[in-house]
């Protein structure tokens, strides 16, 4: 199973990403056009400024482990949506959908996070689309 599916959707880019809450260069680090999904285990939780981060260990088809740097909004912005430091814990298995890092960098800006329980969380606090 591929740990990364690249979806080029330039036309949707402007609608699909809303990094206006970021305050440093999203544009320099992440692609507006290139979205993807990763599934793996949360190995580190850093609910800190300037952006909350989760390091995620994924495995490719051959069992090779790869670490991903998943980023989202600031802790205080997340707290306003009900997303706290305990929302995602080390050891959990999650699927993250978001904007991929530029130049194939193993990083992803979280737009939607799916927990194993089926719960879906968005950093904007909006309900996920049905």
């Amino acid at each position: 199973m591929k740990d990364r599916s690249r979806v080029v959707a330039a036309a949707l880019a402007a609608l699909s990403v809303s990094p206006s809450h970021a305050h440093h260069s999203f544009a320099a680090e992440f692609s507006y056009e290139d979205s993807g999904t990763i599934t793996g285990e949360v190995v580190e939780v850093l609910f800190v400024n300037p952006h909350a981060r989760y390091f995620i260990a994924t495995k490719d088809a051959t069992g090779q482990e790869k670490l991903w740097d998943a980023q989202t909004r600031s802790p205080n912005a997340l707290l306003n949506t009900g997303w706290s430091k305990d929302t995602i814990r080390v050891g959990e298995r999650v699927t993250i959908e978001g904007n991929l890092g530029r130049d194939n960098a193993p990083k992803i800006w979280i737009r939607e996070l799916h927990k194993e329980s089926g719960e879906v969380i968005r950093p904007t606090g909006e309900a996920p689309p049905q």
Binding site: H24, F26, E29, F55
Partner: protein, 348 residues
């Protein structure tokens, strides 16, 4: 014969027509020049979008035979055709994406007005502009800024500024990893004042103190007439001195740590000077600051930023819990640590 006559008549008509065009075009030219003269000067711009209102300062100048326009200190493209004003300039979103605003309009009495085309296919809005005049110094009439304030707008965030060659080379060499905020180091007054976190103001007759959640920055704005300290180190928020002009607090800040004024690596020199004009709305619920950066080493004209906060008494100021570890760990995962060390060595 008839052809000749016709030819003569024809030529005569052409001649008269050309003469007419000459008269008309010089008249049109004179009219256009007159119209342009009415536009020259500074204007206070208000852009109204569906979900946002932005303000800016539009400067229209004659430069030799040409006309130059600037919005908040950055160049803007400007055209005046048959009374139609076209103005276009760049800005960015919070993540640094380059965007463009397009304004079309006309003169209406003493004002300019028209249609606004915001970036990203957003719904059209409107704009208007009135003559911008800094009020003459008035007797102090202090008002109370005390309270907790949350950001309502940080202004248009012009990207392209009127760079000197020195500043242009800094911008060209900039890499996003050079941003000190990534490693939890304060990016300084100009950027911190626009950060999306709340701040608290406490004040008395001699001092206005601003406590920012962002980077735990604290500013003491002295109103007691003291001067710049000697032999003290520069700092990210500089040293600030204020006085009241009517109910506007005018604050001048110097001794800033050299750094950047925005995400694109637009530089700030150690000789820069920042002037803020802070004022309250009539109902006391909105605080505005028009912040101007004077840094002739880097910019041929001052940069302006418009900060707006709304009073939010129930907001709690939290800790700016920043940890540089994930930034460095992320660089390691990405294989960019070496690039980073190299950038830092170059900074020395």
């Amino acid at each position: 014969m008839s052809r000749d006559t016709g030819g003569w008549v024809g030529r005569s008509r052409v001649g008269i027509t050309l003469f007419g065009i000459g008269l008309a075009s010089s008249f049109v030219f004179a009219a256009a020049a007159q119209q342009l003269d009415r536009l020259v000067g500074d204007w206070f711009l208000t852009l109204t979008e569906r979900n946002a209102v932005h303000t800016g300062i539009l400067a229209i100048e004659r430069a030799g035979g040409a006309v130059a326009a600037f919005v908040d200190g950055g160049p803007a493209s400007f055209a005046l055709t048959d009374g139609n004003i076209e103005l276009e300039f760049d800005t960015r979103d919070g993540g640094g994406q380059l965007l463009r605003y397009k304004l079309n309009g006309h003169v209406n009495g003493d004002e300019l007005e028209g249609v606004l085309t915001p970036p990203l296919n957003a719904q059209q809005g409107s704009w208007h502009a009135e003559r911008y005049v800094v009020p003459p110094p008035a007797l102090p009439k202090p008002v109370d800024f005390t309270g907790v304030w949350s950001r309502a707008s940080s202004g248009l965030a012009r990207v392209t500024l009127d760079y000197t060659p020195a500043a242009q080379s800094v911008v060209d060499a900039y890499h996003y990893l050079d941003d000190p905020a990534l490693r939890c180091v304060s990016p300084g007054l100009v950027r911190v004042s626009g950060w999306p976190y709340p701040l608290e103001i406490v004040q008395n007759e001699a001092q206005v103190t601003i406590l920012y959640e962002s980077f735990h920055e604290v500013r003491r704005i002295f109103l007691d007439g003291r001067g710049l300290p000697e032999n003290l180190p520069r700092r990210s928020m500089g040293y600030s001195f204020g006085h009241w002009e009517g109910s506007t607090l005018v604050v001048e800040t110097r001794m800033l740590t050299p750094g950047y004024v925005d995400l694109g690596g637009q530089p700030l020199s150690e000789n820069s000077r920042v002037v803020e004009r802070m004022s309250l709305s009539g109902d006391g619920q909105v605080l505005r600051s028009e912040l101007t950066v004077y840094d002739p080493e880097n910019y041929r004209r001052p940069i302006t930023r418009h900060r707006v906060w709304r009073k939010t008494p129930h907001t709690t100021i939290l800790e700016y819990d920043c940890d540089p570890y994930p930034f460095f760990r992320g660089l390691e995962i990405e294989g960019k640590l070496e690039v980073y060390w190299e950038r830092m060595r170059r900074r020395q």
